[in-house]
């Protein structure tokens, strides 16, 4: 019997790395809150994670009928899309960062990151218990 570390940890390492990526993105948005013309960006966490673990999300796929067409496969390296936020109240200088919203999302994302961290930690502890056999 062998223990696969990937199977043991499940979805959580992926979630963790995605969460930290999103922390970074939201941090950018907050730091650029006073930059004229900056467009706030975010990623669709659920869709990307679902994609990563292999479940297909029902969405519109681009059909490539010619090898020169840009399809999702050709963007390569398992990349995902970072989207621009739709501003609730655009400002005159073209900046779309809503400070309160970004801060709320930052806090929420960090809490969820800690949750993922705790899940991974729990899995590690279970593994350790299994190895020791106490």
């Amino acid at each position: 019997m062998k223990i696969s570390l990937d199977n043991a940890l499940g979805i959580h390492p992926d979630a963790l790395s995605l969460r930290s990526e999103r922390t970074n993105l939201l941090a950018r948005n907050i730091a650029q809150a006073d930059t004229p013309g900056y467009k706030a960006r975010d990623l669709d966490f659920e869709a990307i994670l679902a994609d990563k673990v292999g479940r297909q999300v029902p969405s519109v796929r681009i059909a490539g009928t010619d090898p020169r067409h840009v399809t999702e496969q050709s963007t390569g390296q398992g990349g995902y899309d970072i989207q621009y936020r739709i501003p609730l109240m655009p400002s005159l200088d073209g900046n779309t960062v809503d400070m309160q919203m970004e801060q709320a999302k930052f806090a929420e994302n960090n809490t969820r990151l800690l949750a993922s961290l705790r899940f991974v930690d729990g899995r590690f502890n279970s593994l350790r218990t299994a190895i020791r056999g106490e």
Partner: protein, 147 residues
Amino acid sequence: MSLLNVFDVAGSGMSAQSIRLNTTASNLANAESVAPPGQPTYRSRHPVFAAELESAAGGLLPLSSDTAGKEGSNVQVLGIVESDKPFNIRYEPDHPYADESGYVAYPNVNAVEEMANMISASRSFQVNVEMMSTARTLAERLLQMGR
């Protein structure tokens, strides 16, 4: 690790905001600085912020397939511009720097605007500090994983 990028981003934000605070301080301090006739009077100064290009920053987001959005991560100060607003002209015939009709050109510093600017800059600075400490806590927890 992308969490550590938060430090770069927040750091650049802090430095940009401190430049903004600096110009505000300079403006407020020089609000009453009069220059002798024939010499340029002080004009209020403001920094111009921009987002650093992602490619220039070494591709901070290696996982992203988004190359269309060129706005990068770090806050960059493009430069400092001087305001074109007209000077505050006051009638002070006794002033040593008054022109022949008795008018003195005071700098075009708007104290109210500057105060608002100062508060905004210091709040943004605080947010960046907060962000940094949050990122530090998270990174610490990440390092303790599996202990």
